[in-house]
Amino acid sequence: MQCERCHQAKATVHITDTVPEKTERHLCEDCAESEGVIVKHQHPTTNEVLQQFLKHKMAASGRDEIVCPKCSLSFHEFQLKGQLGCPHDYTVFREFLLPLIERAHEGRTRHIGKVPKTADEAIHRQTDLVRLRRELRDAVADENYERAAQVRDQIRTLEGA
């Protein structure tokens, strides 16, 4: 079948439109692309590959050079020693630490355990809510609806507080 647009090349792209009414079109690859129907796959040039590589490399080295303003530890130093320099590092390196923390703790990234008694009431409530929502999910998954109802009530009370 010939391309119905250029009437020269072989039609390899077949389009069926159903809206507003059923119509069929048969185009060659070049015409289909010029009409914006398809985007021909293009292999990136070596230059583009190199650009991408350098961009990635720069991002990585940029990460390594991030330094905590409080303790002066760089992310690179952390990677070498495996030890952070101060509590503030968890804020400064947060986005880079997250995947590592996730891997180390069975995919979990949110604390639901003990909170210091002296911490703000809001932190206590927030942590309790995260824990209860998980308990609710588990209770429903176990089909323990009695427990689920209890947990749901606890959540409502806390949310109302």
Partner: protein, 348 residues
């Protein structure tokens, strides 16, 4: 109470009491804590470290009058090693430098390590399987210190620790198990693999990087974030430990039924060596003591009880042996002194 008093008893964790003590030697819980707004030890200057030490030492000693406080920078290497052998401090804490110390409660059930990997590590240690009692004690000690000293805490990550693998609850629950029958029946690797599949670490007696000598294995949690302390403790109490204890007991029963001669030969051959040898290393001693402990609990070895076994286990370790003799000794001298001690204790 001072350090020399320690050498007059076997301490808490080696009492041979508590639940499932035929298999569970001891249970331990430790919490990692750091002071808010202070550098972790990795980047702390000498003066930072001293300041953190002073701050925590004051608080810890004020909170616990009866406890013995030891400035680890002041005492000699043998005393530090003695504390390691009694599981009151870690090898790293003993070997580190600068201002650091430990507070030890009477009966040695609780130790608070200052400037270990984190500013404060609160440890509870008891004989047999007693995680609930330990958690109560450790939780209380944590509240007492945190009442006046704000700890580094983040609403998402929880308690902030020097190493992100401890972040969250900062809790490490470890249970030390004696599994000679599972090793003899070659099932130990299967058990260790199953434990690893449950995200547990399996290590030797003195924790990280140490070998399982004397069939003693330490199981501990690796996940510290996204679970409550109670959930972590309960996973040991309800699922992990009772199951392994049952496996070990079943393996002991199988050995007694199917290979009684092999079992008795193992026990009595070990006794023969311990009571006759003229030179013994700590490793060999602990390897030989292992079948005797199993023999005691199986009623197949009646020469002495578990209390005596605990003494032999503890006092044949290098620092304890040197403390008993009151002199510093090299490895060769210790090997001779150890066998002399054993022959003397086993004859009487």
């Amino acid at each position: 109470m001072n350090l020399d008093d320690l050498t007059r008893s076997t301490g808490e964790w080696l009492k041979g009491e508590g639940l499932m003590s035929d298999v569970v030697i001891s249970s331990r819980i430790r919490l990692a804590r750091n002071l808010a707004e202070r550098p972790f030890l990795n980047t702390a200057s000498e003066s930072d470290q001293t300041e953190i030490y002073r701050c925590l030492a004051n608080e810890v000693t004020a909170a616990d009058d009866d406890a013995m406080f030891i400035d680890l920078d002041e005492v000699d290497a043998i005393d530090r090693e003695l504390l390691v052998e009694r599981n009151l401090i870690s090898c790293q804490h003993a070997a580190a430098r600068g201002s650091r110390g430990v507070s030890v409660s009477p009966g040695e059930t609780r130790s608070l390590m200052i400037n270990e990997e984190d500013h404060l590590r609160i440890q509870g240690l008891r004989s047999g399987f007693q995680l609930d009692a330990i958690w109560e004690e450790v939780d209380r000690a944590d509240d007492a210190v945190a009442a006046s000293l704000p700890m580094a805490f983040d609403s998402q990550f929880g308690y902030l620790t020097a190493c992100p693998t401890n972040v969250g609850t900062g809790i490490r629950v470890s249970v030390m198990l004696h599994l000679p029958a599972l090793r003899l029946t070659k099932e130990i690797e299967r058990v260790a693999r199953a434990a690893r599949d449950m995200h547990l670490a399996v290590r030797g007696v003195h924790g990280e990087g140490t070998e399982a000598v004397g069939d003693l294995y330490q199981l501990s949690n690796q996940t510290t974030l996204g679970k409550t302390e109670r959930e972590i403790i309960d996973s040991f109490s309800t699922a992990i430990i009772p199951r392994i204890v049952e496996y070990e007991r079943a393996a002991r029963d199988t050995l007694a039924r199917k290979q009684p001669v092999r079992l008795d030969d193992k026990i009595w051959r070990a006794y023969g060596l311990l009571s006759n040898a003229r030179r013994l290393s700590t490793g060999e001693t602990h390897t030989l003591l292992s079948p005797l402990r199993m023999g005691i609990f199986m009623g197949r070895f009646t020469k002495f009880d578990v209390k005596r076994w605990n003494e032999l286990f503890l006092f044949t370790q290098p620092a304890h042996l040197q403390k008993l003799h009151g002199v510093s000794m090299g490895e060769r001298e210790r090997a001779i002194a150890r066998s002399d001690y054993l022959r003397d204790r086993l004859e009487n």
